[in-house]
């Protein structure tokens, strides 16, 4: 048995979640090989070879892999699939788009979004927006699995010394063309991996008012999240959405501001270590999962919060 893991990266750097998925893969089997497809992506292959737990890196480099076109990735994966008992990737938009296309070609019923490896064929996964956990056993001869990255610690990025094998370019798929990516760049920590997340909901009332959130985020070096309602209303872009149909976050501290706490939102944040809710409605469901609830108008509470945080720092100095 060995595991073939499909790496997610930017051609320059490994995406941090790949490390979490590598750790999950080592719990399935010790023999973890990582396939990286990219363009001018040597630095990524090299950094992968240094990740603790990686036994081999297969590197395929060609212009057609510059962007994540699943239709181009799949033929390469299929070429290697024979030798592996498991094919694994992250359960984020990268892996969600890619893995089912691999699984169907191999006639395998995929196990999506696992949060625990129970044995090499049995996994725990959330269903119904995380309101139930299912223990599932795959009876297919080979397993295709996507892993919820936030449910596993990242593998140490150093300590390994895997060989890098060059692989051949696969067939190009002509009916899908990448046009463009509007990537939102920011200096703030990434939502998925940030230690602190502060999220705003419909209660913020406008995109402009999100500056109240931004100010606190800057102070705490936090990432900014949002409810679907806030994204739908155009207050903030979709990459900030937390929840069943957005991102899953598990920070040390999650601060929900003007968010009611619909189950679809909770699905993306209820595993956070400490949850704070600021909401003017004392009955809002978010309070039922908050460690610290503040029943207050956010337009008063957020400036005060910033002020108190500023005081703290002066004390610390």
């Amino acid at each position: 048995m060995s595991v073939l893991l499909i790496a997610e990266h930017s051609n320059k750097e490994l995406k941090p979640f790949t490390l979490n998925v590598i750790n999950a893969a080592t719990k399935i089997d010790e023999d973890v090989h990582v396939l990286i497809m990219g363009h001018n992506s040597d630095p990524v292959a090299k950094s992968l070879s240094e990740v603790s737990g990686v036994k081999k890196v297969i590197h395929v480099d060609n212009l057609i892999y510059e962007n994540y076109v699943a239709e181009n990735y799949v033929p390469v994966i299929l070429k290697y699939a024979d030798k592996y008992s498991h094919i694994v990737s992250a359960a984020n938009t990268f892996g969600k788009n890619l893995m089912p296309r691999v699984a169907a070609k191999l006639d395998i019923s995929q196990v999506s979004d696992i949060i625990k490896v129970i044995s090499s064929d049995t996994f725990l996964r959330p269903i119904y927006a995380g309101n139930a956990f299912a223990t599932v056993k795959s009876n297919d001869p080979k397993k295709c699995v996507t892993v919820r990255p936030t449910s596993f610690e990242p593998a140490p990025s150093s300590g390994g010394s895997a060989e890098i094998e060059k692989g051949d370019t696969g067939e190009e798929y002509s009916s899908t063309k990448f046009v463009k990516k509007e990537e939102i760049k920011s200096d703030r920590p990434e939502l998925g991996t940030a230690r602190i997340v502060i999220s705003g909901g419909r209660g913020l009332q406008s995109g402009d008012n999100f500056k109240l959130i931004t100010a606190v985020a800057d102070k705490l070096n936090a990432a900014i999240g949002a409810s679907r309602a806030a994204v739908d209303a155009g207050y903030i872009t979709n990459d900030h959405q937390v929840g069943q149909t957005g991102k899953v976050v598990v920070p040390d501290l999650y601060i929900a501001v003007g968010i009611s706490g619909a189950i679809q939102h909770l699905a993306g944040m209820k595993e956070s270590k400490v949850i704070v809710a600021i909401n003017k409605d004392g009955e809002a469901p978010i309070f039922s999962i908050a460690d610290y609830g503040l029943e207050a108008d956010l337009f008063e509470a957020l400036p005060q919060f910033l002020e108190e945080l500023n005081k703290l720092n002066t004390i610390q100095k």
């Binding site: 788009n97 089912p100 019923s109 995929q110 400490v274 108190e308 703290l312």
Partner: protein, 249 residues
Amino acid sequence: MKILVAVKRVIDYNVQIRVKEDNSGIVTDNVKMSTNPPDDNAIEEAVRIKESGKAKEIVAITIGEDKAQETVRKALAVGADRGIHVKTEGIVEPLAVSKILKAIVEKEKPDLVFMGKQAIDDDCNQTGQMLAALLNWPQATFASKIEVKDKSLEVTREVDEGLETIEVKIPAIVTCDLRLNEPRYASLPNIMKAKKKPLDQMSATDLGVDTKPRIEQIKVEEPPKRKAGIKVANVAELVNKLKNEAKVI
């Protein structure tokens, strides 16, 4: 152009689901069921394309038990022309659903298949991509904007980094996000009219598809509950707690 839309019947998104006492699954008896929310967006988009004159026919299909027909009827009431119900029992995994859909595509020969990006019961997010693989068609997943061109679609996709645009040649599979459009409600007259629209029924066996699950559901449990927290009186107390009790700032 002909558009096939796959709609799934699921527990309504507003229902607080309950786990069965014997841990064999989720309680579904006497529970409100609805169309899987993004599947409503898929139908809506197809109807808008038809209204713009770019499509001639919309066929709605569901796979499931007898009552799943209601989901097709609802699609007919908002503008689909014809319905198909493939009868199955028990859990049908995305792989089997995609094989059934493939068999239907081969019969119906649509130019496009629209579906939801994710079913909110199993949260699998697989079926569209699997169908695209089986047909060797392009896949435009997580669509929040679709532009119909001459022989292709330009699709804006919601991805972790932001938005991505791809162009796919027709025939193609599109899986829809909730932000794609605002689904309309069915008017009463249209609900009445939908009752007269044709709805074909068949079984998975008729289509030669084996729907036996490959994944055993060993048990379903409630997730661990968070213990209740406290309410703080003011911002100063909150900051104090975060610093000295929780020690997270």
